[in-house]
Amino acid sequence: MGKDIREDIAWAQINKDVLKSLESPRKLYWVILLVAIAMVGVAVGCEIYQYNVGLGVGNFDNPNVWGLYIATFIFWIGMSHSGTLLSAILHLMHADWRKPIYRFAEAMTTFSLMTAGLFVMVHLGRLWQVYYALPYPSERWVWPNFQSPLLWDAMAIFTYLSSSVLFLYIGSIPDLAICRDNIHQGWRKKLYSILALGWEGTDRQWRNFRITYLTVACFLIPLAVSVHSIVASDFAMSQQPGWHVTSFPPYFVAGALYSGCAAIITLFIILRYVFRFEEYMTLPILKKTVRLTFAIAMVWTYLNCIEFAATWYSHDEAAKAVLIEKATGRFAPFFWGMIFCGSVVPFALMVKKWQTSIPVMFAVSLLLNLGMWLERWMIVAPTFSHGYYPWTWDEHMWPSMVQWGIVFGSFGWFTLLFMVFCKVVPSVSMYEVKEMVYHRSLAKKKEEQAVKEELAAKGAN
């Protein structure tokens, strides 16, 4: 087990270490960036092709009108949850171990939401008419249909994205001021002095900052829960077998937290390695995150069981048929893969020795993410190919390379955004690490004081 953050670390050292991550990148960074750009290139190529020729190139059909895009959309939405939600919850709970990791987790939220939003676009048959879904006043009084869960989705994502960005930004202002004070060349100087808004750390600023941060955090928790509940409503509000399930919203939220935590572990390990943040992203923090992930994994497993059991013992023959199809039909490998990755692999998180083993956790977190992606696909696809109407059942639809290409590219897009972010905004919150160190040292002093007093008292006796 590695060491936790040192209480006696100099604050100036914190600034120095973190600001170093903004300097000229290592070779490895460029490699990752180039790979990400190449992946985005693939997706852009696929999308241009699909845009020009039509969605048919994705191998959609009737009834399989939705494919990987929606599944991956949910995946990215899900991934977005941990960042903000965990950051906000842990902030309210005064869990100080969140402080070194929340910044990149929130960035992850923002960028995965931006990726998810793209999937909504990619999915549309007439992307060029997407503005029809906006509630803009027109002279014809034509409005979008506010009853549609898809519109709720759009609204929820917009709310969540903008709130997350604000949350992230507000939380970064003091750090941006540090950057402004320390980086004096080039475009960055200008950028930081604009972004820092003239922050000087005055008592008035801090006073308002604290209450604002707290308020936004309070808003974000129910918002995050509602966002994934609404994504779940896309399915639960429909009438299709296997989707029309009351427990979908909590199930989706749990799945979202789960995949988000898994993604935090992945990114934690990558950042720690790429930017040499061993001092701040310490193993005890990893351990805490891993334990949290395990707890959520069990919640997810439980909700999964509930869903299966409720379907199995219901009289809804169609839903039952979908479940049987999932477990025994052509989706069986993916279904059982999901069960394995989502419910079996997390038990590896219980092994104490592995909790702080970087390679093991890296592999496990990737598997968990794979499982969560499969989960989303298993929610979307089997219901389509095995709906109410047997005549239209379909066993041959398989996503084409275009679909796979865009899904593949989305990971590159996310990575690209994230890597760029890490070079512009400090991915470890400096001022909060300072706070953490300060409070811990105070606590330690107090403890020492207490021991001294005790000793003195003893001596007096």
Binding site: G54, L55, N59, D61, N62, G125, Y132, A133, Q147, Q240
Partner: protein, 293 residues
């Protein structure tokens, strides 16, 4: 959009359909005395596909070709389904009593699952009881199809008229100018030959009389060699379709038909997936098979 409108007419905005309204024509928000409905006699239907071809001819449906058909991208608004008896168990087919044919098209549900979910409101209920599809408004989210229990909505996966060239010159001259050809990215489906019902309605209105059976036939009905399809205004008690629904004791606004104890179970009218409560507008009459031979 105005708050005063909202407040003044609040109770009218809170009606549900068709259960609250029971299909009565006098509800103000529903100023129509027409409810188009259909009934299909499966005992007469021979599965010959004439209706389907007529639909291609009337509604400018693209012929997608083998490759796209193999991807399930066929655009037949009216499809003929062929079922076998499964006397020996599910999947064990028995041809002794022939096959069962079922023409399936949009059921024009009164409480259509597709309507609520469209993000842009491209599919709505019309005042004459149809489930409309506004091609211009559609952005292609395909949620309607996802939520359709019958899977009778067809999506334009490609730009059939222009890029795929499914109507090479001069085949395009056959296109019916009464309705559009659809471009890629929009959903489409059976309209109960909207262009025909619309004309019929207007003609009747001009002449100041209610719509009669003789005013309009859908293309499928017109072609059907055995006359298995009946179409008309369900609100007009004189129409054949209303008589059939009535005699079969099938009510539009019920999800479980409580048929008459004695005679009801000797009737053969039913609606498909009625229990999901979409209140479909198409009644099917069961196929009859002689047991004496």
């Amino acid at each position: 959009m105005s708050v005063s409108n909202l407040l003044e007419n609040w109770s009218k905005f809170r009606h549900t359909h068709p259960v609250d309204d029971k299909g009565h024509p006098d509800w103000e928000a529903y100023p129509s005395d027409i409810k188009w409905a259909m009934s299909i006699d499966l005992d007469a239907c021979t599965g010959c596909n004439a209706c389907s071809v007529a639909c291609y001819a009337e509604n400018n449906l693209p012929v997608v070709g083998k490759e796209k058909y193999s991807h399930g991208q066929a655009m037949h608004w009216m499809r003929i389904e062929r079922y076998w008896d499964e006397s020996a168990g599910v999947g064990e087919f028995d041809a002794d009593k022939g096959a069962r044919f079922l023409p399936m098209m949009c059921q024009q549900c009164e409480a259509a699952p597709c309507e609520t979910v469209c993000p842009v409101g491209a599919t709505n209920h019309t005042e004459d009881g149809l489930n409309s599809q506004i091609y211009n408004r559609c952005i292609g989210s395909r949620y309607c199809s996802a939520n359709c229990p019958y899977k009778v909505r067809y999506f334009n996966w490609y730009n059939y008229p222009e890029q795929e060239k499914v109507w090479p010159e001069p085949l395009n001259q056959q296109l019916n100018p009464d309705l559009t050809v659809r471009t890629k990215g929009v959903m489409e489906k059976c309209t109960f030959c909207k262009q025909r019902t619309y004309t019929a309605r207007n003609n009747a209105k001009t002449e100041g009389r209610p719509v009669q059976d003789s005013d309009v036939q859908t293309a499928c009905q017109e072609a059907c060699p055995v006359g298995a399809i009946t179409f008309g205004n369900l609100f007009n008690p004189e129409s054949q379709v209303a008589k059939q629904w009535k005699s079969q004791q099938v009510e539009l606004t019920k999800e479980v038909q409580d048929k008459d104890e004695k005679e009801g179970n000797r009737l053969r009218g039913y609606r498909i997936l009625e229990e999901l409560r979409p209140y479909p507008s198409v009644m099917y009459l069961e196929r009859v098979r002689e047991s004496a031979v």
